[in-house]
Each structure stands twice: as C-alpha cells, then as structure tokens.
C-alpha cells in the first residue's frame, strides 16, 4: 500500500468509503471526551471560566497552520510527482483551512473581549493569523477563477509554495512591526507553562480536531472527485448533442 496505489480515483473512493465511518466515529468520540474534560477543567485563578475558550481556540489556531502545510505537500505532489489526486487534496483543503482560521479568529476575539477589553487588537499574533486568513481567501479565489481544474491546480500549487515561503517572513515582520509600536505589551496569553489539568483536555481536543480535519478533508476529496466526474459527463453530453 503506497501513495501511488491511491492514484486511481476509484480505488481511493472505495478505500475512503470504508475508512470514513471509523474516522468520523473516532472524531466524535474524541471531541465528546475532550469537551467533557474541558467542561470539567478547573477555572483559571486569573481568567475564570473564560479560560475554557482555549480548548476550542488553540486547536483551531494550530490547524490553521497545519492545513497550509498539508496544502504545500499537495502542491509538491502536483508539481513534482504529478500525483493525480494531489490537486484534489489541495483544492479540498483550502476551504477547510480557511474555516479553521476563521474560527481561530472568532474564538480569539471572543476570548479577547473579557480578557483584554476589546474584540480586536493589532497584536502581532492576531495580525499574522488575519493575514493567513486573507491568503486562504486569495487561494480560494484563484481556484474559483478558472474553470479547468488542472490549469488552476498548477497555478494554485505555485501560489501555495510561495505562500509557504512567505508566511514565516510575514510572521517575523509582523512581530517586529508590533514590538516597534508597542514596546511594553500588557497582553499576555496566560502563563507559559500550562498546568496538567489544562494540558490533557487541550491535547485531547487537539487530536480530536486533527481527526476532524482528516475526516472532512477525505470527504471533501470524495466530493471533488465526484464533482469532476459529473463535469466531464456533462461535457461529453454537451459535445454529443452538438455533434
């Protein structure tokens, strides 16, 4: 069982049809356990009950970057190995990554309101996540601008790789920009070392959310393959009618 065996879309469809229910079940279990543990976690002595937003916020923020990494690997698959399913994977991942980034921003601003007294702060970390969100949206716009999927795939792959090089630079420059404007920042995200009572639910939630991404990604890839089949059938029908 190698990656090249999955190049056949039919085999991919039959394999994922068998795997997906198990994945979905495991995701539900882990998220339920994680949510229960998060609800049972003690309140923070400074932040009170609002610290529980962390259990949703941090996995989302983590996945927002992880998904770009997955797309970069898929982009390499498109450009270097010409794997037939790589561009399907890249295309299916973009909206999911954008959703995770959006959720990270929303939960972050809901957390920021009671903690910092404001929904939005031009904090370095917030700003770079917002830019990441803009880049996801640009990538989705690129996918939607072109009808022919294989043509859009190569363009999107190059943009994804350029983004992967640029994201650390943007992160670094935004950090620099912010420290320049705010020398003594009072905004600190809790203590650096997490207590065990918080760490375990957080880890469970992180694994649960990662599994959620895998489940959604595989399901979206199946949809994309089926959508392409429908499209080519429609094209065949149209050309037959024209002839």
């Amino acid at each position: 069982m190698t990656l090249i065996d999955l190049a056949n879309p039919t085999r991919f469809l039959s394999l994922t049809a068998r795997v997906l229910p198990w994945l979905a079940g495991a995701t539900t279990m882990l998220l339920l356990v994680g949510l229960y543990q998060s609800a049972m976690a003690p309140d923070d002595y400074q932040q009170g009950a609002t610290v529980k937003i962390m259990f949703v916020h941090v996995p989302n923020a983590w996945l927002s970057m992880f998904v770009w990494g997955v797309m970069s690997l898929a982009a390499l698959g498109t450009l270097v190995w010409r794997h037939p399913l790589a561009d399907v994977a890249a295309k299916a991942a973009a909206p999911i990554g954008a959703a995770f980034t959006f959720l990270a921003l929303v939960t972050g601003s809901l957390w920021g309101r009671p903690m910092w007294g404001t929904y939005w702060e031009w904090d370095a970390r917030l700003t770079s996540v917002l830019i990441l969100f803009l880049m996801y949206l640009g990538l989705i716009a690129l996918w939607r601008a072109v009808e022919d999927p294989s043509r859009a795939a190569r363009a999107a792959a190059i943009l994804t790789l350029v983004g992967a090089i640029n994201l650390p630079i943007i992160k670094f420059s935004v950090d620099w920009w912010n420290t320049l404007h705010q020398p003594a920042s009072v905004l600190r995200m809790g203590g650096p070392s997490l207590d065990r009572a918080f760490l375990i639910p957080l880890l469970v939630m992180a694994i649960g959310f990662s599994l959620l991404f895998v489940t959604l990604h595989l399901a979206a890839m199946r949809n994309e393959i089926l959508r392409r089949r429908v499209r080519s059938l429609q094209m065949m029908q149209a050309s037959r009618q024209a002839a």
Binding site: R151, R154, I158, V162, I169, S173, W176
Partner: protein
Amino acid sequence: MTALAALIRRDIRIALRVGGGALIGVLFFLTVTVLMPFAIGPDLALLTRLGPAILWLGALLASLLTLDRLFMADHEDGSLDLIVMGRTPLELACAAKALAHWLAAGLPLVVATPVLGLLLNLDAAATSAVALTLLAGTPALTFTGMIGAALAVTLHRGGLLLAVLVLPLSIPVLIFGVAASQAAITGPLAFGTPFSILCALSLASLVIGPFAAAASLRHGLD
C-alpha cells in the same frame, strides 16, 4: 548575455513609447498622494507624520497597477511563447523582464518622491529617507508581484485577482519600508536595522520571484 540585454532594451523601449503606459504609474502615484489630504484634511503637521506611510502606500498601489502589463502584452502578440521556448533560461528571461519593468515603472516612482514629499510637508532629510527606502524596496515589490503577473497571464485573469494574490505577500516590504523611513525621521531606532532587512527582502525576492514566475509560465502556458 546579449539576449538578456536585448530583452531589457526592448522592454524599456516598449514601455516608454506610445501605448506602453509605464509613466501612467507615476501619474497614479501623484493622484493618490494628492487625494490623501482631501481624505485626512489639510493639517500639515498630521500630513508630515503620515507622509512616509502615504508615499509607501501610493508607491505600492502604483507598482501593483502597472504589473498587469508585465507579461500580458507579450502574451497577446505571441512573443511570450518565443521567450518560453527560447534557448535563454526562462528564469533569467523573467528576471530580465522584471528588471526592465522596474527601470521603466519603478524607478520613476523613486524619482517622483521628492516632489510628492514637498506636497506632504516632509523636510529634505525625511524625503531623502523615503526615496532611499523606496529605491531599496520597490525591486521587491516588482519581483514578488511578477509571480502574481505570471499566474494571472496563464489563467487569463488579471486586475483584482492579481491584487488579492500579491498584496498579502508585500506586507513585509511595506512594514520595513515605512519603519526605516520613520526611523530616519523620528525614531529612537537606528535607520540601518530595518533598512538592511528591507534590502534583504529585495535580494530574497530577486531569487524567489524569477523561479516562481518561470515555473508558473512553464506549467501554465500550453
């Protein structure tokens, strides 16, 4: 080498002639800068404080608007296909085209900066600082923007899509360009630190830009 020099000469000549439109970028730069006081108000002290930021934003938008033509005109008359199939490495040809584009459209922005600085009540030191940062930073804008231009030409889309793809990538250049100008005018910070990072960004884009643009042309044109 002669092929690259000929390519640069040809591109500059086309850009400067009737229909080339390189100098429209400068006109746009001027217009945007003139619009700003209408939005902000004619408060000279405020304009002095915002001056570097206004000039940098204007230059960023002006260089973005002219990028559309970098590959589009060559694609329309077929010479882009010749360049892609030619014996000169496509990466070098892309770098030459971007260099020519910068000489025709980016350098005039730098030259126009002192006049525009006058309008924004910047003194000589501040104006020269902004001009110097623009001189160091606009190559980065052209060379990263070239990636977007190459993508746009292979997809037969331009305009807004190009802007949406390129603008987030130019954030670091904007940050360090404005930071260096501010450091020279007011800041306690040394001018050298952000300025050398700005130069580093330009040099890095000099490497990344041609490779990404050439890859996108090679994969995208058929």
